[in-house]
Symmetry: C2
Subunit: 285 residues, 2 copies
DNA sequence: TTTTTTGATATGTCTAGCCATAATGAATTT
DNA sequence: AAATTCATTATGGCTAGACATATCAAAAAA
């Protein structure tokens, strides 16, 4: 109310490099908008990208280059709106995405500032084994080693160990790549949560893909560690006993109750997990 | 243009459970808005949470519960706007957050639908080693083993190996927890990118924290694998030669040029990486 | 029959405002 | 001096539209 003139949007912004050709002072909103569009296209050669993304990338580059160090206060929304000649909402959209990416922090009266670097984090992709094998250009094979129904034990992977005894289906399977052992899978399925598993043989379909079809969605917890191959593992994976293996354990739960847990054992020499992380564009590759 | 009546916002929405008390047909926008606010507070007991988040959680629960299976088409934005008695933009915000979370997919003419479950992914937190040790309630120690300036070699971690020979600072250090070896660090620092490193002894400060202060921000690539300890590693970590180790390699680059690479070797038996992942609320714990 | 055109439509982007809310600092009261 | 009030201010949330654009399907043209 006080600052009517500069309130939400800069109604008129004179870019130094290219003065507005049509300087009709009280131009109707439509005409003004056209002008802005043309001006934007002329100034930033990138015609296709939406404005909020241009703003995001621009600010991101200021931060990534060290131009704006951690703790640095960003211009206010209204100022940025004027700078980019757009509405406050568009700026806000860009800034909120930067908050999500962890690059900036915002507080209501205090404004926005560049965040302090946090703990290193990474988005880790743990693909379906079949896809993983095929994407390496190798043939995929699957063998069911054992299938048994039993009660949970203390030694079981965490979520099953914690809860009182429940009936689970235990599967041991071997995934092959190019005819050679690729990964050993030890799987527990909560029969209370996925009763259909009891009538599935799992001889031709691996439990992972099967479960994906059954259980709607999931929250997952992973543990990754290195371990020495025991005698049985060594035999099955055709490696030496004591050889290092990469072990990935995953518990999948849905709404508090554990659905399944799995332990994947990869020969250490043959397998590698990769993860990449960029602040804004954090895609799982 | 055709569907004027139902275009953007449902101007009037009669909730079955609570018919609108003020049924002034052409109520001014302001009064109407007040009504909506009161109505919303009465219907959904959650007063504090913003509407777009309520919508997000609501749709999320439909998907997570399996009520809306993968491939299921969601109601259109306009329909949801009517359902929740809000504007299309608010619905759009919620839906776009669900896209970011990977729960739904949207296409322009086709509408929105529940996404097929993708490759398992997880947000992996790789903390600063000192914090990691201290958070376990153990004392932290740091020892610099060697410090040398040299040219890059073919055998160096990828990004350095790829580029033509450049001058790097190579550091070997040992991190201790409770007086025992915890992690072995092999670090390369690009002296062109971080020239100040040349005049830092790294005898009292580990290169990780030091670099965080120097380099503004970073994109990182990680590789995780299991490997057997070689003679030197075994000696330094006080484990047996050939014992399994968890090896984490990280390359940090900024704007295309590699800043630093690091190989962290943890004794397999003593260390575990954990990662958690929930579709929408994916926090690094 | 095949290709092209055309219209319909749902989302994508953006605007120019509105009011709410949290945080701050100054003025006022206790 | 301490506590309380109060105006200020920047972000948070939201609206009621507008136009843009991708895309699907049906009609028209080849």
């Amino acid at each position: 109310m006080l600052m009517r003139g500069t309130s939400c949007c800069a109604v008129k912004k004179f870019t130094p490099t290219k003065p507005d050709t049509q300087s009709a002072d009280a131009a109707p909103p439509k005409g003004n908008r056209r002008n802005r569009h043309r001006l934007r296209a002329a100034v930033s050669k990138e015609k296709k990208r939406p404005l909020h993304e241009i703003i995001l990338r621009d600010i991101e580059s200021h931060i990534l280059s060290g131009d704006w160090p951690p703790g640095q206060a960003l211009p206010f929304e209204t100022e940025l709106a004027e700078t980019y000649n757009c509405s406050r909402m568009t700026v806000s959209k860009a800034l909120n995405q930067l908050v999500q990416a962890g690059l900036i922090e915002r507080r209501r009266r205090a404004g926005s500032r560049v965040a302090q670097p946090r703990a290193q984090s990474a988005v880790l992709a743990i693909p379906e084994i079949e896809n993983e094998v095929r994407s390496m250009g190798m043939s995929y094979g699957y063998v069911l080693l054992s299938r048994a129904r039993r009660k949970t034990r203390k030694a079981d992977i965490c979520c099953f160990a914690a809860s009182p005894r429940m009936t689970v289906l235990e599967l041991d399977c071997l995934h092959l790549a190019g005819g050679l052992p690729f990964c050993l899978e030890n799987r527990l399925i909560n029969l209370a949560a996925a009763p259909l598993a009891a009538s599935e043989s799992f001889e031709s379909v691996a439990p992972g893909p099967w479960l994906l079809e059954q259980v709607p969605w999931s929250n997952a917890r992973h543990k990754i560690r290195a371990a020495a191959a025991d005698a049985r593992t060594a035999l099955l994976l055709q490696i030496d006993e004591g050889a290092p293996c990469l072990v990935i354990e995953r518990e999948t739960s849905s709404g508090g109750s554990c659905i399944t847990s799995v332990r994947l054992t990869y020969p250490g020499v043959r397998h590698e997990l990769t993860a990449s992380f960029t602040p804004t564009d954090n895609k799982v590759s």
